[in-house]
Amino acid sequence: MGRLLLRRLFMVVPVLFGVSLLTFTLSRIIPADPARLIAGPRASAEGVAKVREAYGLDLPLWKQYANYIAALARFDLGESFTSRRPVGRDLAEFLPATAELAFAALGLALIGGLAIGIVSAVWQNQLIDQFGRFVAIGGLSMPAFWLALLAQLFLYQRLGWFPFGERLGGETPLPPRITGMLALDSLLTGRWATLTDALYHLILPALVLGLEPLAVIARIMRTSMLEVMREPYIVTARAKGLREGTVILRHALRNAMIPVVTMIGLQIGYMLGGAVLVESVFAWPGIGRYSARAIVSADYNAVMGVTLVIALIYLVTNVLVDLVYAWIDPRIRY
């Protein structure tokens, strides 16, 4: 286990270096001119040149990259052209918002997906299984963006059950910042009114973002459970006279979890990708909206910063998935 962690940690640096080189090259080969965008459509050629110089965009590409890497080594991600603030500060502000949304969505997806998957497998082809199939196919076929708009139209505009979006109501005080995740910070500091309001704002976007992973987890869980339930050791467990609940929860579930864990790891990527559109509809100030704006504005530093952070999240997630494998199945050794 220790060796695995060590090996993965050694891999982080070259992978991030590769990602930075690739992103840097790709963002530079597009014929965009951020200096022109910053200076504005009416700026003179001298004005544009001045901006180019101020942001170091007039330097040769290799030098720009070398400067970036040198700054990165000091954990300096540069300044965003669009927000006019250090990228590190932007990420510290926007990443927790997305993390909060993604965790909530993943939590809903896990609870709902596992429950539906287990029930569908146990009661295969019965009414409850048909219902599970309906939810799963529905969740997979409805794009999050469209679902978000529908949810907003009915649950906010028509019924008034939920706020339209944002992280907190206008008059709700912010909790002291610990993680930047408002619900968690409110919980840690005992701000119950803020916690309730934060959860109230979180539910709708989290449900929308979580529905597709929920569907995926439900289907994989069902298939995996069905396979496991036919294994000889399950027959043996039943023959021993164990209760059905013990058979399912202690013998079948754990063995059926391996493919689900793999899928959860992959869903993290979906969460970050899908968050762009969901955040846009629910005016959620997260990293998805930040990165979308950065890309269309050729905000090189912001694009680099977001890419590196997402790459890092992927690396960490993969390590976690490997660790969970070993925990679920003690036969797996690294």
Partner: protein, 552 residues
């Protein structure tokens, strides 16, 4: 535990998850998300707070560099200039920080008399020194908007003279009739607090970095919160000199919520959770106009949308450009696509711009004439040209109409969409044909009401590529000549005679553009918002201090 019990528990679990996600309509112990204590029941929120749904982040508040409209919406609320163009007649000016002004006979000396009761938000007085400091900073900054004054003022130290605490003079070697217009511009010519600039200056940047997300003005509202991707909050400045002119109910707070999704903005305004919302599609506007609680406010502006006709490659011959102009379906675009929400542009100038020619040549769709012109120019059927635009609805629709029309006269049009930064890089870049597309879609409006300010960056050969906004590399010696001599002409009749010839050249004789429509400003307001006034020259901005809530 038997199988049924397990299944039953699992079902209960599922139901619990689903119920949990529906939750109570409003959590106990928490106020409604937008309903503070003391709100009037009818509105459900604080009536003294105006909530506006905007579509993106404002990106810059430094008057010397800001060029985008959301930044300008905040700038005009927080920062003032010496004079403003009148909304009802943009040829005339009204006082802002200057109470009155005068010029000598040959327009070489301008004198402005400042009001004595104006203060900056930091409490320091607005006086002649502050005006000199602000305009000197603008000129010396060399930033994007500095040309507004630097085209007239090259040596601020000698040309801007403080006569006394509240009197300032501008001196020129040659007639400068345009100064008053440049000072009324919605760009650049704002007066800011010298104390604030000096306090936040870093490495000789004239506080540019600080001013990008802060303000140092004297306007009716102060910037009190700037949360990227969330909201911008403006708070009433009690010491503003102008409040006595606007007695009665005015807003204490303006909250600009950043709501990127159009459908969300529509939901918010329909439900009444915001008072004003910006940027909707013609289809949304059509639906919103039918809502009795909503007013769709349209106002004319000086903004024109057009197609650039690149003067190179297959379009080098003016007859090919004329043929393309004849081919476009103007009525279909205005009536069917835009549903009559914009008026057709007649010529390259918007009709409210000084020297617009009401008799300018206007193309009507005529495919036969277009074919004949192509034949005359020796164009073979099957010629392929490219139309490039941003990934936005309107230019794509324009491209599709043109594509269908050109197909009928034997031209294959390829539509290429690019994201904003890439498109901007090409439009304002020096990429040459054949990499440069033959046709491009764009929009433009002047900094102030003057034909030269409007036309020089678009049509002068020296403004081609990265030197300006002449994206079609248009070059016509007579057009250059007119643009060069126009700024010094003080006789309006003579000026307009020259521009009449100019308009005929760039549309009929040697087309540079296909002018499409004059784009109106459209704002969607709840019907209880009164006092709204639009000014055609200050595109996409309006004054918050004029607004009030009807019934309060």
């Amino acid at each position: 535990m038997n199988r049924r019990v397990v299944v039953g528990l699992a079902i209960l679990g599922c139901i619990a998850v689903l119920l949990g996600s529906c939750g109570p309509a409003r959590p106990a112990g928490t106020a409604a998300p937008t309903a503070p204590a003391g709100a009037t029941p009818a509105l459900g929120r604080d009536p003294k707070t105006l909530v506006v749904a905007i579509y993106s982040n404002p990106s810059d508040l430094d008057p010397a560099s800001n060029n985008e409209q959301l930044g300008n919406l905040i700038l005009v609320a927080t920062t003032e200039g010496l004079v403003r163009a009148k909304a009802e007649n943009i040829e005339e000016f009204e006082p802002q920080l200057a109470e009155r002004w005068e010029h000598n006979e040959d327009y070489t000396v301008w004198t402005f008399y400042l009001r004595k009761n104006a203060k900056f938000h930091d409490g320091t007085p607005v006086n002649a020194e502050a005006v000199k400091f602000s305009f000197t900073r603008l000129v010396q900054s060399g930033l994007g908007m500095s040309y507004i004054l630097s085209q007239f003022i090259t040596d601020p130290e000698s040309q801007i003279v403080v006569k006394d605490e509240y009197t300032i003079e501008f001196r020129f070697d040659s007639p400068t009739p345009l100064l008053i217009k440049a000072l009324s511009s919605g760009y650049g010519s704002f007066v800011i607090s010298p104390a604030a600039v000096k306090a936040h200056e870093k490495d000789g940047d004239l506080a540019h970095e600080w001013l990008q997300t802060n303000e140092a003005g004297s306007g009716a509202y102060m910037l009190t919160e700037w949360s990227p991707n969330q909201q911008v909050v403006l708070t009433r400045f009690e010491d503003w000199w102008g409040w006595e002119q606007y007695p009665g109910f005015r807003f204490d707070k303006i909250v600009l919520k950043i709501v990127p999704e159009m459908a969300t903005r529509r939901s918010l305004i329909e439900k009444g959770d915001v008072d004003i919302a910006l940027d909707f599609s013609p289809q949304d506007l059509e639906a919103l106009a039918k809502n009795p609680d909503i007013v769709v406010h349209r106002s004319e502006t000086l903004a024109v949308r057009y197609i650039v006709l690149g003067e190179y490659g297959p379009l080098a011959d003016p007859r090919v450009r004329q043929a393309i102009a004849y081919a476009f379906d103007y009525d279909g675009y205005v009536n069917d696509v835009l549903k009559g929400t914009a008026i057709r542009a007649r010529g390259p100038f918007p009709h409210k711009l000084q020297c617009w020619d009401p008799n300018v040549f206007v193309y009507e769709t005529d495919l036969e004439k277009a074919k004949a012109l192509l034949e005359e120019a020796g164009v073979q059927p099957g010629m392929e040209i490219r139309f490039m635009c941003e990934e936005m609805d309107w230019p794509v629709q324009v491209g599709q109409i043109l594509q269908a029309q050109l197909a009928q006269i034997g031209i294959n049009l390829k539509i290429e969409q690019r994201d904003t930064s890439t498109y901007s890089g090409i439009f304002y870049g020096d990429v040459q044909w054949p990499e440069r597309p033959e046709l491009m879609a764009w929009g433009w409006w002047p900094d102030y009401n003057d034909p030269t300010d409007y036309a020089w960056p678009l049509f002068h050969s020296q403004a081609a590529g990265s030197a300006g906004a002449n994206a079609g590399f248009y070059s016509n010696p007579r057009v250059d000549e007119i643009l060069d001599i126009a700024p010094s002409i003080t006789d309006t009749a003579k000026l307009c005679e020259l521009y009449k010839e100019f308009q005929d050249i760039v549309v009929r004789q040697d087309p540079a553009w296909i002018p499409l429509v004059e784009r109106p400003d459209v704002r969607v307001l709840r019907k209880d918002i009164g006092g709204f006034q639009a000014n055609p020259i200050y595109v996409e901005t309006f004054d918050f201090f004029r607004l009030y809530r009807i019934g309060y």
